[in-house]
Subunit: 207 residues, 4 copies
């Protein structure tokens, strides 16, 4: 329908939201049109200041509220064990690992690199150099989901790590059988890891 | 993680968006944090003015851009045939029917009644009265999806229509077999309509 | 694994079962291997005699137990109203319609024509001729699910019906909105039928 | 429909097939009714002899064609490395692992134990004892999918293994990230194993 400039404009902005298609973006617009002005005002305020109320950690690149301190270093980077550094794709991966309370070390969020940075990984290299000098960094862990695009990135990172940081141990999260997947349908890659990283339930007694 | 007040606040506002759960609302927040300030500024501007740039049609209750004229009556209500009025649940239903170019008449969007109004249907009654007096309104069509909650509403509306507008013909969109549904799995209601509204492919020749 | 001739042979036979792929066919074989000999004996007996214990109705072509009488005509064809004949694709469609107790007439099951027969429809023509002469057949109803391949077949049947049986009324089950489908997502075909076969809820009083 | 005794009987027998419900069982019956007598005869023959043409391996309990030799020991048990024995739930698990050509050792199929046997595991104990005495068996591997019911069984087997075969090493297939699962959604158990069985991509150079 012609002339609907503002509606179309806002719809297009919502279409950039993660996971939102044309139809749902339009529903968002009509939802806002029907909402009372209080809600709109609040939403506008919160969106306007969301960037200014958080700050990016210089160390792990994740965003955290300025109320947690404006030192430029987040709580996780300030408090956790600096001898291990886990590379994760995105903040939600970090949050899931952190929730489990199984990992003592620090993190680095690759998706928060600017696209330009991601070509060079300068911030990552700087972070590793700092870790070696000031935190006793000994091991870099690839905490990547098993997706083709990430395997590619892992290879690129691995190659400069080996060259530029020869004294760092490099590991990746173990692979193997996951809950809910039948052995009958496991792929060859998974099975290979499951066989080579067998879990010891009992050693032979005479050993 | 404590202290994330603004992040939490904005997440809660996004959780009110149609079809958005907690996890996706959080993704929206992080998406905005990473977006450049230009985008944020544009989004804030468009949201702030979306209500003021549209106006609600007095006749069908749908929202349309003020640029289409500020008469208070939308193009559809100004131009289409006033002898038929189709009640639809929501604007996206109207848009789908309109796209097909199969229906000549006008519409009325029930979801755009205020909740209070929806108890009394005063705006709907006023609309029908206007139609009878000024537009030669003869038929009211229930254009409702077949959902239990709407059948209930249809019955409530039907009862006052019969009482207050005895001269109006009342119909509902035909029911029957839909594309992609096997006869084997059709429910009794659908089959009943499919039988009673059989399509004539050829009359007996001697008739 | 080589040499597994009988296992492979039986697997291939099971792969012909409707909806059964290679993997499930193999599971059937292993299931039988592990089953006790009583079950196997019973299964073999029942399969061996299943064809001989049923007989095909000469009129509607469906299969029914010989214990219901060996006249060659099934109960439905013997008892129901012969003025209407519904063409259905398969026996499960017939069973669903019959279960609803909404339709008084008789049936004809197209899938039970031999493939050769299906090219000529000789048995169908003979059935219609019999209906006209002996049962007062007046209307032929296409009781087809809305699938492209059936629409094609419907056109082929329609064309000879019009030519060879000009006095028969030909209809099809009505189309329109089905339970559980949103008006917002209805296709143009369905909407067209829904509009043209509107249900009268109340006529204008002065008519 | 009354009197359909044979049809109902056969339908019930098919309902015992793995993964087959009432509706599909009925479709099998109608499928057979329509099939030619040659197919029926073949099917009946193959089913009747399937049990007699295979024999169960005394060692791994899987079924194999008698044409592969009637020694009572299958090819896998005759040829593969006897120092490792993998317990699997069912033959299809064994087949998937075998297809990968990643594992040198032998197998034992628990589902082919009779229910009575499964309480005592006498056949399994006998198999292990034989392995120790004649095949140099050193390691028993749990090749189980990660399902609660199997974890339970694993614990029961583990406890008698430790008691009765103290010199055997006991392991389980490694757990960890599987292809296609996001780190963001990994459960705590999987993550724990992924962390403890990290894959070495490069050791520190000075080690």
């Amino acid at each position: 329908m012609d002339g609907e400039t503002n509606i179309e404009k806002l719809r297009e902005l919502f279409e950039q939201f993660p996971g939102i298609g044309r139809r749902q973006a339009k529903r968002f617009v009509y939802f806002l049109i029907r909402k009372d002005t209080n809600y709109i005002q609040e939403l506008v305020n919160e969106i306007a200041k969301v960037k200014s109320e958080v700050t990016q950690c210089h160390h792990c690149l994740r965003y955290y509220p300025k109320t947690q301190g404006e030192s430029g270093v987040c709580k996780l980077c300030a408090q956790k064990d600096g001898s291990m550094l886990m590379l994760v794709e995105k903040e939600s991966d970090l949050e899931n690992v952190e929730k489990m309370k199984l990992y003592e070390g620090k993190y680095f969020v690759l998706n928060n690199l600017s696209p330009h940075e991601r070509e060079e990984y300068r911030a990552l290299k700087k972070r590793i150099r700092y870790g070696i000098t000031h935190e006793g960094l000994k091991e870099l862990i690839f905490g990547f989901s098993l997706k083709p695009e990430l395997e590619h990135e892992q290879l690129r990172i691995q190659s400069f790590l080996k060259r530029e940081f020869p004294k760092i141990r490099i590991t990746a999260l173990g692979r193997g059988l996951s809950s809910g997947i039948e052995l009958e349908y496991s792929d060859s890659e998974t099975l290979k890891y499951a066989l080579t990283s067998r879990i010891e339930l009992k050693k032979k007694e005479d050993e």
